[in-house]
């Protein structure tokens, strides 16, 4: 079955093609399509041609399911198990393979630097692609977990904007928390 093609125009006036089913992974695009006011090309003034192909790649992979591997692994499978009395083990195995494959794909897909991360997070936020937003937010969180402030600055490529006095004060606050957390 061939799907209807949708055209997306990036902020720098480049046009990209996407299947309608894939485009529906985005709430924003879905609303435009369902709204019926589709006039050939959908302009996306907040998404550049650098990042749009990456977004389209995600949408293609997820068709219309709108979820990440995490969501499927934690929620979907167990829930079905409780509802269906004669749970199909084969089905369960196939589902596991599918989730594992998706996880691997996501891992490779998310392998990029922090610049792409910001752009992708903004695009996912603007286009309301929840699964993609979750992935980018999780990646950013992993860049903070267990890191020192200096490592976090390096990971996000940011400079401290505190005055030397504020900096001094912040260090004291941090020491205080660390002391209290000395208990393992």
């Amino acid at each position: 079955m061939s799907s209807t093609k949708i055209f997306l125009k990036s902020s720098d006036d480049k046009t990209f093609e996407i299947d309608e089913t894939a485009a529906r992974a985005s709430e924003t695009l879905k609303n435009i399509i369902d709204g019926g006011c589709l006039d050939g090309v959908i302009p996306l003034p907040n998404v550049s041609s650098n990042i749009l192909p990456k977004v389209i790649e995600y949408c293609k992979k997820h068709g219309g399911d709108n979820g990440s591997s995490k969501k499927i692994a934690n929620g979907g499978v167990d829930k079905d198990k409780e509802i269906l009395p004669d749970y199909d083990e084969e089905e369960d195995k196939r589902e596991k393979v599918r989730v594992d494959e998706l996880k691997k794909w996501e891992e490779e897909y998310m392998d990029f630097d922090q610049q792409v991360l910001y752009d992708l997070m903004l695009a996912a936020n603007y286009l309301h692609i929840k699964g993609l937003l979750d992935l980018t937010v999780e990646k950013a969180a992993s860049m903070i977990r267990g890191r020192t402030p200096d490592q976090i600055r390096e990971n996000f490529n940011i400079n401290s904007d505190f005055t030397p006095e504020e900096e001094e004060e912040m260090i004291l606050i941090e020491d205080e928390w660390d002391d209290e957390w000395a208990f393992d």
Binding site: Q114, Y118, I144, P149
Partner: protein, 272 residues
């Protein structure tokens, strides 16, 4: 790392940064506040701290017997309060607190809610207040030849996917005796699990710092948690899995038959 990038963290909508922080831990989030003002302002967001508080915290606090109602200007303030000030719950038989690093739930079971063998016999045990205890009543051991104290905790009340450790909190009277000679048996087990999974260890309920002897896995915690003046014996760690149900029973201690008599205080079992 891209140097001189045009896009900065500041361009992210505020909700995004709060969202990112809420996926870290309270400790990570606080650390990140030192990084830059963007992080610092996001850290005060209620949406971040709401995620760090246990999902059922309101229900737990509704059983609090605290005289003052819980009114806090922010979720962060409430979180920090619950870390530093254990709250009496369940008619004052338990306390509830949060472990600061992780926001995981910690409970302390008061002596009144423990099962003390012979606890109703005034010739063996004496009930009354104790100045250092957070509970209104503790139990004092007068003299007994069989010391057995058990505590129960429903696993559904604990934080999921968390390694818990049970401690026994107690203190000695001036005239306490009989604890030096034999180790006590201590164990933690899942009541719903089939028998045999319980690992029994030996621990000397000895005075910390004085004549301390190491029995298997005895780990006196007195110096690490200074807010407790009573001695603590770490009983046993266990891992809480999300789908486990039933009751955990930190069982403490079961003295072998025919031992010396003992005297001392029992305050409670702290699970945390």
């Amino acid at each position: 790392m891209t140097q001189g990038s045009t896009v900065d963290l500041c361009v992210l909508p505020e909700g995004c940064i709060s969202n990112i922080l809420s996926l870290t831990s309270p400790r990570d989030a606080c650390r990140s506040s030192v990084v830059s003002s963007v992080f610092r302002s996001s850290l005060d967001s209620d949406s971040v701290w709401e995620r760090f508080l246990p999902s059922d915290y309101q229900q737990i606090l509704s059983s609090s017997i605290s005289p003052s109602p819980f009114v806090f200007s922010s979720k962060k303030e409430l979180y920090l309060h619950l870390c530093n000030n254990p709250v009496l719950i369940d008619n004052g038989t338990k306390t509830f607190a949060l472990e600061k690093c992780s926001g995981k739930k910690c409970y302390m079971i008061g002596a009144k809610a423990l099962s003390v063998v012979g606890g109703d016999q005034p010739e063996h045990w004496c009930w009354g207040p104790f100045p250092d205890s957070r509970f209104s009543e503790v139990v004092q051991l007068l003299d007994i030849c069989w010391l057995e104290v058990r505590g129960r905790m429903e696993t559904r009340l604990l934080s999921p996917s968390t390694t818990y450790v049970a401690y026994m909190v107690f203190d000695f009277t001036e005239s306490a005796f009989g604890f030096d000679y034999y180790p006590a048996e201590v164990s933690v087990k899942l009541a719903a699990a089939s028998s045999g999974g319980e690992e029994v260890k030996a621990a000397y309920l000895d005075r910390i710092g004085r004549n301390m002897r190491q029995a298997a896995n005895l780990d006196p915690m007195g110096k690490e948690r200074q807010q407790f003046r009573q001695d603590q014996v770490k009983l046993q760690p266990w891992i809480m899995h999300r789908r486990e149900d039933g009751c955990r029973r930190p069982t403490t201690p079961t003295e072998p038959a025919g031992t010396q008599g003992e005297r001392g205080w029992v305050d409670g079992d702290r699970v945390g």
